[in-house]
Point group: C2
Chain length 339, copies 2
DNA sequence: CTGTTAGCGCCTTCAT
DNA sequence: ATGAAGGCGCTAACAG
């Protein structure tokens, strides 16, 4: 039952072996004040021989900080996971911090932090969109937990730095490409979930593109996609079954685009000749799809890295950029009709 | 008016406010021994009002354990990341443990644990293939760090539990499918890197399938793939340029299959009519490829979950299953020539 | 059931 | 430049 602890050397052992005090050992470990070179060598030798590793718990307790960042992620991050984590890890380690991960089961009625990420167990929190809602954020903020939000802006009354991507202009450019270059006017929009900010901005871009070209907004062409393969496929299939006419689909994201391909193919429609399709995110599967998916590249790793930088800055200086919008870029492939 | 203030409340504050001793507070927190209901309520009330959160560092120091598992991952895990982490997280949380993540830059000359995962900062380590080599493993093992290996078996002289997947039988079945059902005899094998155990077993399966059907092993058909898109593409392109004749390709993994598709298409070959292609892993992109990729499903989330279970068991009981081979399953799609 | 009392291993003044 | 001593906040005997 009680976990046996392999007894390893402590700072006392090192001090004894090097015949100095523990304070001195602490000093050579942390290089906090000069120590005579001779002693430094003795201490280092002792640490090596004893295979000494400072115990994080003891150090954290004494220092009153954990040197650890918490990352709160939704359950189904899918392919974003890899790049995002890579970006976060890089910066985190660069600054000598550790990374503690927790996932938030999607519908948390409590809207509270996972226990493990609680107040004093972490120096700050990276929170991905959808993991904590209004009340949860406000509560954590009130408790003074340093936080940075990813792909989600904070409630207006509290100032939490947020890092996300430029959605609207890219979406608009994408849809305009469909209109101008490929002369499509009946363009379906697969909406994301209402609480998804990315989805909202992408819809704005879609609307602006239409307005710019004097194409009336047609509610019949706007159907749920939810950034989900199945949902997207169902929606497009229904459109087809209902006899709705359209010449292009803005899928909302790449994942939904997969569903769109499926539904279109099942109905015998050719992509892009009959219906052009575009996505968003430029996930790894985008270039593998046939035809290769025209989409918008989202710099996911950089989002993670920048959010981490902001959080670290907030922790160290108490200040951070309220909103960072990372640039996106339209990636033209073949699904829009281009060669 | 209770003022929400101290993000600094400690167990003493709670004890004082509930007018009990700190031990009692500790008892209601940990439910270690019965406490009278009346006092429980008082303590809980105090914790609520004070917004008390136990400090992990203090607790870990006193308990001599961290309640945290470390996860060591390679830099570029790609699409495995999501599922693997999901499996690990689930089990980890189920057992009340936290998860600390670190990535190992591929070529670590030191072959040592990242500082953050050092001896006493974690109760045990989950180590993905390729992150730590022989010496590193032996050293960590000697220091008594509980570990579980993922997709990599330990050096013979030390007993570290390993969880991986069944590679050989599935590969053999896959290749036999190509031989028997689709009558391909000239089958290219894209080899993985020599230190990749999965790759080795897959090659064995390939060889067994050939032997079973009395097809001589032809070294000219075995080229590097490295589970890498570009490498695979290059290898296949060279084969084609060299005029080598082949009717099928076992890509080693799905990622390489993408490269195979590219090279084949660039040369005007039809898949599967001219050349059948199969992969391994059943990553998300497999079913999106055109034609959909015939491959082998690897239960990645379950690998993560099971490795975590073994590690936890090792930590708690000192025992664990030396080797767990999770079953795989051939997934027939269209790239092999099936309808 | 509840309170008292040692530490857990390290950092950090404060002396020297 | 080095040592001594007092915590950091919590758990875990040990007494009542």
């Amino acid at each position: 039952m009680p976990t046996p602890q392999s007894s390893t050397a402590t700072i006392d052992d090192v001090a004894r072996r090097a015949r100095v005090s523990i304070s001195t050992v602490s000093r050579v470990i942390n290089r906090t004040v000069p120590v005579s070179p001779d002693i430094v060598r003795r201490v280092e030798e002792a640490m090596r021989v004893l295979r000494y590793v400072p115990r994080a718990a003891a150090r954290n307790l004494a220092r009153r900080n954990t040197n650890t960042l918490g990352l709160l992620l939704p359950d189904g991050l899918g392919d974003f996971f890899g790049p995002l984590l890579r970006g976060i890890q890089n910066v985190t380690h660069e600054h000598g911090y550790d990374l503690l991960i927790a996932t938030a089961g999607r519908p948390d009625p409590e809207d509270s932090l996972p226990h493990s990420l609680g107040n004093h167990n972490t120096d700050g929190l990276l929170i991905f969109a959808g993991c904590l809602r209004r009340q949860g954020l406000i509560r954590a903020y009130a408790q003074g937990v340093p936080m940075a939000l990813i792909h989600q802006t904070p409630p207006p009354e509290i100032a939490i730095p947020c890092v996300t991507i430029e959605n609207k202009a890219a979406s608009r450019a994408l849809v305009e490409h469909l209109i101008q270059v490929h002369e499509r006017r009946k363009i379906v929009l697969l909406q994301g979930l209402p609480d998804n900010e990315d989805a909202q901005w992408r819809e704005s871009g879609y609307r602006e593109a239409l307005a710019q070209h004097h194409i009336p907004f047609d509610p019949a062409l706007v159907v749920p996609g939810d950034f989900d393969r199945q949902r997207a496929s169902d929606s497009v299939a229904r459109l087809l079954a209902d006899g709705v006419i359209f010449k292009a689909v803005f899928s909302g994201d790449d994942e939904a685009a997969v569903g769109v391909y499926q539904a279109l193919r099942a109905a015998g429609k050719r992509i892009p000749q009959d219906v052009a399709v575009v996505g968003f995110d430029d996930q790894r599967l985008a270039e593998v799809m046939t035809p290769a998916l025209t989409t918008v590249h989202a710099p996911t790793a950089e989002v993670g890295a920048e959010a981490t930088r902001q959080l670290l800055r907030l922790i160290k200086t108490g200040q951070a950029e309220p909103l960072t919008l990372l640039p996106t870029e339209v990636i033209i492939r073949q699904s829009c009709g281009c060669e």
